[in-house]
């Protein structure tokens, strides 16, 4: 058992990140190769100014009209995405482990803050889950994979939360927590989680077309 725990909390973490990075690089290279081969006109219209104008406009809460049409979903989604990165990166337990093995460390959230924030993430995911049943236009678009994405994101947060509170089966909770976290990292380059990298690119292109060619806003 100890060597298994040692493996998933040690080498497996690095293996996961390695797969993640190699996967991301592989996919991005593939993407740009294809652009060069088939659609190199993209560079003709791509403009840094308008790419970033569009990306920044979409990062400002409630600037885009679209976000004002669905304020609840948008707010929850916005906070959710922030916390999705913020909590794991600044969690004391994660930083402590990293410090002990790599001597890297940075500021951390207090455990109680992280605890409440994790609850926000879990409630966001429950909201997304329910929304897929309740909002007709979303329900129509939803497929099984959309629920799987919610599940995969929920697992590390729910198990992390339960493990922190040591409600039951502590050791197993931590094991599932670690493994599901690693699964999520590994899956990013190979699933629609890759929107993390593609979305800024599609946004940049649309922003460039709107700003550079059409002289119009795209938000």
């Amino acid at each position: 058992m100890h060597s298994f725990i040692n493996f998933i909390m040690g080498p497996m973490v690095w293996i996961s990140f390695l797969i993640f990075f190699i996967g991301v690089i592989f996919r991005l290279i593939g993407l740009f190769k294809q652009i060069n081969a088939k659609e190199n006109f993209v560079y003709t219209y791509l403009s840094f100014k308008y790419s970033f104008r569009s990306i920044f406009a979409w990062l400002i809460p409630f600037l885009p009209v679209s976000t004002r049409k669905s304020p609840v979903f948008y707010s929850i989604s916005y906070v959710f995405h922030l916390l999705l990165f913020l909590i794991p990166i600044f969690l004391l337990s994660h930083v402590a482990l990293l410090e002990e093995s790599m001597h890297w460390s940075w500021v951390t959230l207090s455990d109680s803050t992280a605890d409440s924030l994790t609850l926000i993430v879990i409630f966001s995911l429950i909201f997304f889950f329910i929304r897929r049943f309740v909002v007709p236009e979303v329900k129509f678009l939803t497929r099984l994979s959309d629920f799987l994405f919610i599940l995969i994101v929920a697992l590390p947060f729910v198990t992390g939360f339960l493990a922190y509170h040591q409600f039951f089966a502590y050791r197993w909770m931590v094991i599932v927590h670690v493994l599901s976290g690693e699964l999520m990292i590994i899956l990013i380059p190979f699933t629609r989680f890759f929107h993390m990298f593609l979305a800024p690119l599609t946004r940049a292109y649309t922003g460039s077309e709107f700003g550079n060619v059409r002289h119009a806003k795209d938000w």
Binding site: H2, N6, E99, E100
Partner: protein
């Protein structure tokens, strides 16, 4: 004003609950964590004699109570008279690159992993 009152009230309740829990758990010996300003977790459960008996390290105190000169481990010398925090400060220093928290964690976990025995996960020592 109402808010302040409510805040004080809630704080007192929380303090009483924590006091109660601290009192009720007093029978379990724990690592002294008073030096930490804002400990995030309960102190680690640790019964010195019981542990050493189970681990079979009663004879060799210097496994944990080691002495370093610079980066050199001084063999056959031990430091059971001094506190861990006398050398390991809260933050790493140029003289000592191991902070107190790290010293505690690594000291316990490295042995436990090696011997395939004993707690290795956060909540296995920092029991709520």
């Amino acid at each position: 004003m109402m808010k302040l009152k409510r805040f004080i009230f809630i704080t007192i309740v929380i303090l009483m609950i924590t006091a109660f829990y601290s009192y009720s758990q007093e029978e379990f010996p724990m690592v002294d964590n008073l030096i930490f300003d804002h400990p995030q977790r309960p102190a680690a459960v640790f019964d010195h004699d019981d542990h050493n008996e189970k681990a079979g390290v009663e004879e060799d105190c210097s496994i944990c109570h080691h002495v370093y000169e610079g980066k050199e481990l001084i063999k056959d010398e031990s430091s059971e008279d001094s506190l861990c925090s006398e050398c390991h400060s809260l933050k790493t220093t140029p003289e000592n690159g191991i902070s107190l928290r790290m010293a505690f964690h690594n000291r316990c976990k490295s042995c436990h992993f090696k011997s395939n025995n004993g707690p290795v996960l956060c909540g296995e020592c920092h029991i709520k």
